[in-house]
Amino acid sequence: MMVHTIDLDHSRFKHIVRGAIRRDLKKHIANGAMIARQGAKTVSIPLPQIDLPRFRFGSNEGGSGVGQGEGEVGDPAPGEPQPGRAEAGEAPGEHALEVEVTLEELAKILGEELQLPNIQPKGKKQVTTEVHRYTGLRRIGPASLRHLRRTFKRALKREIASGRFGPKGGMVVPIRDDMRYRAWDPRTIPESNAVILYMMDVSGSMGDEQKEIVRIEAFWIDTWLRSQYRHIETRYIVHDAEAKEVDQHTFFHLRESGGTKISSAYELCNTLIDRDYPPDEWNIYPLHFSDGDNWSGGDTARCLELLRHQLLPKVNVFCYGQVRSTYGSGQFKTDLDNAFPDEPRVLTSDIPDKEGIMASIREFLGSGK
């Protein structure tokens, strides 16, 4: 008596969820809340407007009720999280539905909404990689690769042929000759690898707000590129007057003070590429975020030279995002634009605030490179 129309309802629901995320994509992008809820492969997005509205009780606080358990009057009710960690979603009456969306799905939504072209990996055919696949059998090998079924089959055949095994009984004991082992073949497959090199200015003028913007933008670019490449690596470089490589957490939380020498970051970036990512095997995406203040015109000239002669020949695109801050002059973007007026591989974008993130993503990823 089961009729599985539930699948129809389920896919309809997923369609609605996608629609809801798309409709408010700008809002979701602008508020970084979902990044904090990121799992390995999914993010959970609170979508209060999905469930059907009702006239229902619920002050905008945690409400009241009856519970069961130990405790004195005035104690926190059993099961309450420790002070300082209020979870709004727990409160009765707050029906913010949390929807799990895979990163892949999210990238798809982003792509559809921003009309991003699929990326054409450079030199698709040249970049190959060798993998091992277990495809055959052989007669010698380590015990750990023993193919039990085939071994048994051989033994069975032999025992039956020799008449020692039949309907009346008998035992199947494999001898050395019956043993079969898995064998592998090396195979070359075209592979597209990509590396994202994040660079950020952490000098005194970059505040928390600016870093938050960088973090959100990095998350989305990451999500998109991950949907485009099978294998992706990320490296993080921070710089003020000097550049150094750091891990992800440090990248977003470090706060230095002092001057800014952008060329230091470009140099380090160039070194990393030369050392770890040969350009004919890797799609390379250096992304630089700064508030546009550089130490001196001389250093800017050095940056431009590095870009023109070292970086640009190696990378797919070079993206520069300029986060507007109260202290930054914003000169660097102008310099870049003037130096590379017709270079399609240099993409620059001005991000005034969180609302501007979406437009900036489009500028970076819209080229399909």
Binding site: F55, S59, G62, G69, A77
Partner: protein
């Protein structure tokens, strides 16, 4: 799929034992389903066929995910129908299956005998399948999106019914004559001696009174005549709906009335079924080797999440408490007025009426009357009940009281009207402009404003003229309005 032979044998045995215990149920048909089948049926609220709507898909999404992650597993699912249908999860151990079957017979008995289930349609499996067909036909004719959007609106007001109306006869409309007499009487006239008449009852005053009444009578009768709690019915009868819309709204309303008694008797129903599975399992069904597994399962079902109420737990404990009290005569004036603690504790008149009493209770009570009548200070104390409230300063919920009166009051408030706010239509032609005024009968709890606005949007879609909701927000009398374009909130 039907049951394998060994479970069929168990079922026959459990059915016989249940009958011997005095349970009286519809024929019960068990279906064996796999995990996904169970999740599907659960998303459809127990029924094999429902109309197409994404909210079932949403339920399925949540249930199946939490099942896949091992966070929850649905053991038992039974629907109020004649015959009763219940589902067993394939792959569960025999103990689990026996436990579920015993539990299900408890529910079936409750469905069949509890007063509040009497008006429900016992052919609901067929009825809901036919609703699905009818709605599908509307979808084919009017377009899927159109019907789906309309269903959204219907479903968003499905809690606006008068859940007690199936148990009462509507008061007959007053006859014109009766109304006249009543109004005549309303002219105030003091008794006076003849010569004092013109002083005590001055003619001008009487004339004025008469005039006022006359004017009142002439005024158009109120519409609706008295506040209508069944908002769905009011819209069904008075909103400008097309015939397919009326048909659809009517179906959703019927379904709401069918499911309402389950909300009204959640604690009792689960308590009763748990009481009986516990009785039958420990008294008859368990093999010695199964005791530990049963105990673990039973404890799992009764487990109290910290700071919450588990209807299974409260229900079973209350039924056991009642049985105990009526067995030992621990009720009535003498017991209540006994001040001697030791005497109270040892009280035993040897009455032995416990079993009879709980059967009576399961027949005529619902959760509200059940708690009102049988919750005792001793019980609250033994079960460690408390009330809690949100403390904005510390940003957490805190225990506010362990006082019997407070607990009972809070519990009753949360159960009243099935836990739903009482919303009624007070005016269907407001300001003579055909606007609809709903009123929230506010006691204690506010409505969630965001949700209320969204819901008003749906009400507007049905009513098509501006709609208003009178409620109280943080102690202030407010009126939310929606005219199809903008939401407003003003004082009233």
């Amino acid at each position: 799929m039907t049951l394998p032979p060994e479970l069929q044998r168990e079922q026959a045995r459990i059915r016989d034992i249940a009958s011997e215990c005095g349970l009286d149920f519809f024929e019960t048909i068990f279906e064996m389903v796999d995990g996904d089948g169970m999740n599907t049926v659960a998303s459809y609220e127990g029924f094999p066929v429902r109309y197409r709507h994404w909210r079932f898909g949403m339920g399925y999404d949540q249930i199946s995910k939490s099942y896949a992650w091992g966070m929850s597993k649905i053991y038992e699912l039974v629907i109020n129908n004649d015959p009763c249908y219940a589902y067993l999860l394939r792959g569960n151990s025999t103990v689990d299956q026996k436990l579920v079957m015993a539990h299900v017979y408890g529910h079936c008995d409750f469905f069949k005998n509890n007063l509040w289930f009497q008006p429900t349609n016992r052919r609901m499996v067929d009825e809901l399948a036919s609703h699905a067909t009818r709605i599908q036909r509307h979808m084919d004719r009017e377009g899927f999106d159109e019907v789906e959007a309309f269903l959204d609106s219907c479903l968003s007001i499905e809690n606006l019914i008068d859940i007690y109306s199936p148990y009462t006869t509507p008061p007959a409309a007053r006859s014109a004559q009766a109304r006249e007499e009543e109004e005549d009487r309303a002219v105030i006239r003091f008794r006076a001696k003849d010569y004092m008449e013109s002083f005590i009852n001055p003619p001008e005053f009487l004339a004025e009174q008469r005039q006022r009444l006359e004017a009142e009578r002439k005024r158009k009768p109120a519409f609706p005549e008295r506040p209508e709690r069944d908002v769905m019915r009011f819209l069904l009868e008075n909103a400008p709906l097309k015939s397919w819309q009326r048909d659809t709204l009517g179906m959703i309303r019927d379904e709401a009335y069918y499911f309402a008694p389950q909300r009204l008797t959640k604690i009792m129903n689960e308590g009763w079924a748990s009481y009986w599975h516990s009785r039958m399992m420990t008294g008859h069904l368990l093999e010695p080797g199964e005791i530990i597994e049963y105990a673990e399962r039973h404890a799992g079902a009764m487990a109290v999440q910290p700071g919450r109420i588990n209807p299974y737990k409260i229900g079973i404990e209350l039924f056991r408490d009642i049985e105990e009290r009526w067995n030992r005569g621990r009720f009535g004036k003498e017991y209540e007025e006994c001040d001697d603690l030791d005497a109270r504790r040892a009280w035993d008149t040897g009455l032995g009426e416990g079993r009879t009493k709980i059967f009576e209770v399961r027949r005529i009570y619902n959760d509200v009357t059940f708690i009102d009548e049988f919750l005792t200070p001793e019980f609250c104390d033994a079960q460690r009940l408390f009330t809690y409230e949100w403390n904005a300063k510390t940003n957490r919920r805190e225990i506010t009281s362990r006082d019997f009166g407070d607990i009972k009051g809070q519990l009753l408030r949360s159960l009243a009207n099935g836990g739903q706010p009482i919303i009624e239509v007070v005016e269907g032609n407001y300001a003579n402009r055909g606007e609809l005024v709903l009123r929230h009968r506010h006691d204690d709890a506010d409505l969630q404003l965001g949700q209320a606005r969204e819901t008003l949007t749906h009400v507007h879609r049905l009513w098509t003229r501006p709609v208003h909701l009178e409620t109280t927000v943080e102690g202030r009398a407010r009126r939310l309005s929606y005219d199809g374009k903008t939401h407003e909130m003003g004082d009233r």
